[in-house]
């Protein structure tokens, strides 16, 4: 990674905040001025956005300057599991989408979701799969029972 981008999370956050505040200031400036009360809806969000934009710009400069230092970041003792995070988040998006569509019962969906997550994280290690299945079934059906029968939450069921 280029030296200037070593602190990429801070840089990314600052850029995102800077862009978002610009869009929000534009949106807030179209809000009509207050009629019955002196301040109206727009000035406070605009002031907060302006302060945030200034601070994120300042932090961005600070981070870029700090990144010029020669100090190389300490290598982590283990490789971060980025691919697993990506798979987990993709599964979650699919899981939430299917809950919203109400086509598969919650218990079945949750059992499958839990098992797939555990299997992915354990890299399909055999010794982890059996407890994973037991846990997934118990939690999937247990949660459905608790939330639908005891707490009356409207979850998709058959």
């Amino acid at each position: 990674m280029p030296r200037l981008l070593r602190d990429w999370p801070t840089i990314l956050m600052c850029v995102l905040i800077f862009v978002a505040t610009g869009i929000l200031i534009h949106e807030a400036s179209s809000i009509p001025a207050g009629v019955f009360e002196p301040l109206g809806s727009a000035p406070i969000p605009i002031a907060v956005c302006a302060a945030l934009a200034a601070l994120s710009l300042w932090q961005l400069i600070l981070s870029l300057i700090a990144n010029r230092d020669d100090k190389a970041p300490k290598a982590p003792a283990h490789a971060p599991r980025r691919l697993d995070v990506f798979i987990l988040l993709s599964l979650t998006v699919l899981y939430v989408y299917l809950i919203g569509q109400r086509v598969v019962p919650y218990a079945v969906l949750t059992t499958a979701m839990l098992f797939l997550c555990i299997a992915t994280l354990s890299r399909f290690e055999r010794s982890k799969l059996m407890p994973g299945i037991v846990l997934s079934v118990a939690l999937g059906f247990g949660l459905q029972w608790v939330f639908t029968s005891l707490l009356y939450v409207d979850l998709p069921t058959w």
């Binding site: 602190d7 999370p9 801070t10 990314l12 956050m13 600052c14 995102l16 929000l24 949106e27 807030a28 809000i31 009509p32 207050g34 009629v35 019955f36 009360e37 002196p38 301040l39 109206g40 809806s41 727009a42 406070i44 969000p45 956005c49 302060a51 945030l52 601070l55 994120s56 932090q59 600070l62 003792a77 283990h78 490789a79 971060p80 599991r81 980025r82 697993d84 995070v85 987990l88 979650t92 899981y95 939430v96 809950i99 919203g100 949750t110 979701m113 997550c117 555990i118 994280l121 354990s122 982890k128 994973g132 846990l135 939690l139 949660l143 939330f147 707490l151 009356y152 409207d154 979850l155």
Partner: protein, 497 residues
């Protein structure tokens, strides 16, 4: 007094008693598991409490709070990983003492000090809450606005690392609380014409996203992280009378420091334990022993971090201002039950207030007994694999968010805030500042606009009203002081010797 006794009688009923036991136990277990925090447990439990009586809900949540702060000492001592940031200082002496073959003694000192700290701060909670709420009830909109400003600035300025990042996090929380229908004029703002945003971002999806989802991402990334574990033993887990006598001054001093720091809005347990640890080291006859397994170090850190619980509950009960991140979540719990936190809580919902106070004491006793008798068992639980925990937390986060309003949009919001929370955490922007900004901003804005309506659009009351002026001066000094000290330090370093 009679109300407090009634509250004690109430918590002795089977259901509240059971909820307190469950709350304290789960709090300790979660506190003992690296990667899980009390804030996360309480956030994930909020949807469940939605279906409970408000009094029972706060009883369970406060018990979890007490348990989680205490439970983290187990991992701090045996794994050198603080279960929650509150026990960072405990690792410095707890782990070396455990390495020297005295893990039971290290745990015993921590448990005893935690109990003592909890008792001292409870006394402060009982004696200070009511008088402070009487003063708070006299506050007008300008004073409350100024108080919110103090809280926001204080959170940002004490943020570990960079104050600029603390301010960014706090202001981001403020900004993200603003979309939705503006209650003052009844018109939508910052919704981009998206009807779903008319109600704004709901508190629960934001909290679950920021605390639980972001933690799942971190845990999965670091799944291969190894730790140096020590086998627990129970020898020396109960302190003798001589031990209590030997450490009583340190415990008392650290507890008072912890209580005081807990009272300051947004500061929290980790700062309390750092300050108490530093004071204990400065006043110790053997400061060189600190960091190598010093008994005084463990006592100071644990007495102070538990004392912050009672201290932090004082501004919550008396003024509706969170003393810590967990208190901000407790405010969310009250709001979920349509209970307005603030100085009038003592008048409108005194049963809730006294239930909180009674729980703070009884849960502290439960914590002491549970930790004393089952520290060995608890320490085994901390080995529960994150491989199973991360998917469970993920599924519970989705279900918990969905269950409150049965709206799938809330779940998408939760996931989005999970990513935001993870990025903020990676960037070193404190999540606590973000959440407290998110919780407090609507109150601050409402009071500012009410004040302006009363004054006919004039900002003069900000400097004409003495209490408002004092609070704003405090806020300004809090903001300027760290900048000044950093500048002074830099100029000292530049000056050649």
């Amino acid at each position: 007094m009679s109300e407090l006794l009634s509250a004690f009688a109430y918590v002795a009923h089977p259901l509240p008693f059971l909820l307190m036991l469950i709350g304290t136990f789960t709090g300790i277990v979660v506190g003992a598991m690296p990667g899980l925090t009390g804030a996360m447990l309480i956030t994930l439990s909020l949807p469940l409490t939605y279906f409970m009586d408000p009094k029972n809900a706060v009883i369970m949540l406060v018990s979890m709070y007490v348990g989680s702060i205490s439970g983290s000492l187990i991992t701090a001592t045996l794994l050198r990983i603080p279960g929650t940031p509150a026990s960072i200082m405990t690792t410095f002496d707890g782990y070396p003492m455990a390495q020297q073959g005295r893990p039971g003694r290290a745990l015993g000192l921590g448990i005893g000090a935690s109990f003592f700290g909890g008792l001292v701060s409870w006394v402060a909670l009982v004696t200070l809450s009511k008088p402070l709420s009487v003063i708070g009830a006299r506050f007008g909109p300008w004073e409350i606005f100024a108080l919110v400003m103090v809280a926001l600035v204080l959170i940002a300025s004490i943020s570990k690392g960079s104050m600029v990042k603390g301010l960014i996090a706090g202001l981001l929380g403020v900004l993200l609380s603003m979309p939705g229908v503006d209650p003052a004029v009844g018109a939508p703002r910052l919704t981009f014409g998206f009807d779903r945003l008319n109600n704004g971002f709901q508190l629960l999806p934001v909290l679950i996203g920021v605390f639980a989802m972001s933690q799942v991402i971190r845990d999965v990334l670091d799944l291969d992280e190894k730790s140096e574990a020590i086998t627990p033993s129970r020898a020396g887990i109960w302190l003798t009378l001589a031990d209590w006598r030997k450490h009583c001054w340190n415990m008392l001093r650290s507890s008072i420091i912890g209580t005081w720091i807990g009272i300051l809005p947004g500061v929290g347990a980790s700062v309390g334990s750092i300050v108490a640890y530093t004071s204990a080291k400065n006043l110790s006859k053997t400061p060189e022993a600190f960091g190598t397994g010093s008994e005084e170090g463990i006592v100071a850190s644990e007495a102070a971090n538990n004392a912050t619980i009672g201290g932090a509950l004082i501004p919550l009960i008396a003024l509706g201002i969170p003393g810590s991140v967990v208190d901000a979540i407790l405010i969310a719990a009250l709001l979920l039950h349509s209970i307005q936190p603030g100085p009038l809580l003592f008048i409108n919902n005194s049963d809730i207030v006294y239930a909180i106070i009674a729980t703070a004491l009884v849960a502290n006793v439960f914590m002491f007994l549970m930790m004393g008798f089952s520290a060995g068992l608890m320490s085994r639980l901390m080995y529960m694999s994150r491989l199973f925990l991360a998917p469970i937390v993920l599924v519970l986060s989705v279900l918990g968010t969905f269950a409150v309003n049965n709206v799938i949009f809330d779940v998408w919001v939760m996931l989005a805030f999970g990513l935001v929370g993870y990025l903020m955490d990676r960037a070193g922007m404190p999540l606590g500042a973000f959440v407290i900004g998110f919780v407090l901003a609507p109150l601050g804005e409402e009071k500012l606009r009410t004040g302006l309506m009363i004054s006919g659009g004039s900002f003069a009351p900000l400097y004409e009203r003495p209490m408002t002026l004092i609070l704003l001066v405090v806020a300004s000094l809090t903001l300027i002081w760290p900048l000044l000290s950093a500048w002074r330090n830099r100029s000292r370093q530049r000056t050649p010797r």
